[in-house]
Symmetry: C2
Subunit: 309 residues, 2 copies
């Protein structure tokens, strides 16, 4: 059993069972990957992949179990690279952030700008996804940190730090009847077509809960994964939009009106999460500090000490 063979299997699975594609991401030849997989399967005496003729179509039953172990091994080998890179050279390496659209679009740019200036040699990646994908990526070690709202906190393998809280804003075209309304209620929202985040998305479960508890049935005409799309449809006068407050830009969204509705929904909190029992590089800590300015160095140190290095 060789690490390279495990890597091959790992990449083939990640590339939807396409050996050619896996070979490309590994910068090696197709036959090489194919061969290594065969060699391992022969050695362990068990087929890892289900095949339709020559095509790989999935994992076998034992293959699925083996793949779990392989994922852990790949994660730990990445961890070793991180550890050694840290001791060898402080300012080189790869840094991957998994995050949701809202963060990537409205909160990260400023921080990333500072970060890139400070660590020009770091290869920065941002993986955008929904909260459960963010969690997944942290768990698998594919991302060094994850930023999302609430969902990442549930897993006890992830260490979470609250970053900031935010409220929701209602956006509508200029001249909309609600523009003059002093105190907006859930009933108001329910009486217009509503456009908001996809229900799998951050905080929206809170939104649906609020409606349900008030026994008000909203007329959700469209859900989107990002505020830009929502605002676009609001602009077309297809309904009113419910978005995160930071997603409204007074200057850029000149044609729209935003009204605070924090009295209707509880605040949401955004967390930054890292995987427990994983080595944390200096620049990762630094990134966290940049992202959470309200945190004092003292508080951060306590967290860092907990997480050793």
């Amino acid at each position: 059993m060789k690490l390279q063979q495990l890597r091959c299997i790992y990449e083939v699975v990640l590339n939807s069972f396409n050996i050619s594609s896996a070979a490309k991401t590994m910068h090696t030849s197709q036959p090489g990957v194919s061969k290594q997989i065969q060699l391992l399967e022969e050695e362990i005496g068990v087929k890892i992949f289900q095949r339709h003729g020559k095509r790989l179509v999935g994992l076998t039953d034992p293959g699925a179990k083996v793949f779990e172990s392989i994922s852990e091994i790949i994660r730990e080998s990445r961890n070793i690279k991180n550890i050694t890179a840290e001791y060898e050279n402080n300012n080189e390496g790869k840094f991957t952030i998994a995050t949701t659209h809202t963060q990537a679009r409205y909160k990260l740019p400023k921080v990333v700008e500072t970060f890139v200036k400070k660590y020009p040699k770091i290869n920065l990646n941002i993986h955008q996804g929904n909260p459960s994908q963010v969690t997944e990526q942290i768990l698998k070690g594919e991302a060094d940190v994850g930023i999302a709202t609430e969902t990442i906190g549930v897993n006890d393998k992830i260490f979470c730090i609250p970053c900031y809280s935010w409220n929701r804003s209602l956006v509508m075209p200029k001249g909309h009847p609600l523009e003059q309304e002093e105190s907006i209620t859930l009933q108001h929202l329910a009486s217009y077509p509503l456009i908001t985040y996809d229900y799998a998305f951050t905080g929206s479960t809170i939104v649906s809960k609020v409606f349900k508890e008030a026994n008000v049935e909203p007329n959700i005409m469209l859900t989107a994964i990002d505020a830009d799309v929502i605002k676009t449809y609001v602009n077309l006068d297809l309904g009113i939009g419910l978005i995160a407050e930071m997603a409204f830009d007074k200057e850029k969204d000149r044609d729209l009106i935003a009204k605070d509705v924090s009295h209707l929904f509880p605040v949401s909190t955004t967390f930054i999460g890292i995987r427990q029992d994983t080595f944390v590089r200096t620049f990762t800590c630094d990134f966290i500090r940049m992202f959470i300015p309200h945190m004092t160095d003292h508080e951060l140190k306590i967290i860092l000490q907990k997480r050793q290095i």
Copy 2:
């Protein structure tokens, strides 16, 4: 980075930084191991081992961190072997039990006999150690199951099943003043030199607690790791012995008297533990069932389902 290199480092650490000894356990040559370590250190650009001249004397700071990851990788690679062996051939493989002396000596033999008859091709190993070593071995995957009293339960990575409860017996030479005593008290125990298990050992912490709470100071003249040693010294009339009830054998210990003291100490419970998130082979489950006869198949099934396979 190659698996073989990680294995070399792993074995060198386990062999107290002796490359020659590691090479022997790996059935390979000394220079080969040395070379592989050098190659890895060169590749990652960090020294794993502290050296005094040519001798390896310990892990460096980054080396210690890397070693943790290596241990995980080795554990997972063993796991892969278990999974595939299970699917390939049900009745071959290696089965390691980590346990304390009392279990190994008085409870295991009968079970092991049955087990070996049923699985003659399984390579059975018993690692004897103190409870914390047992826990360690389960965690590192060096043992498939661990049997000990109480201490293994504390770690949440270990899944524990209670096996049976036991009380303590007081052993003394024939003709000892306490032989005729109807109701033995802590004061009685304290008035003679006491010989019992090493304090780090199973249940003895309970014993010391009982004495402390009763504000009685026992006169502990000797502690041993196994009941045979204790009984030997009791035979020499050096004191009275406090041992697990199953450690007394009426026939073999003809020269001694055992008196139940369950009214003085709370019962202890022995647990069998396996590591969470690790593949469990059929024969391992079977062993557990043999060890816990009071458990019905139905109950075991529930446990097995939880632990998948």
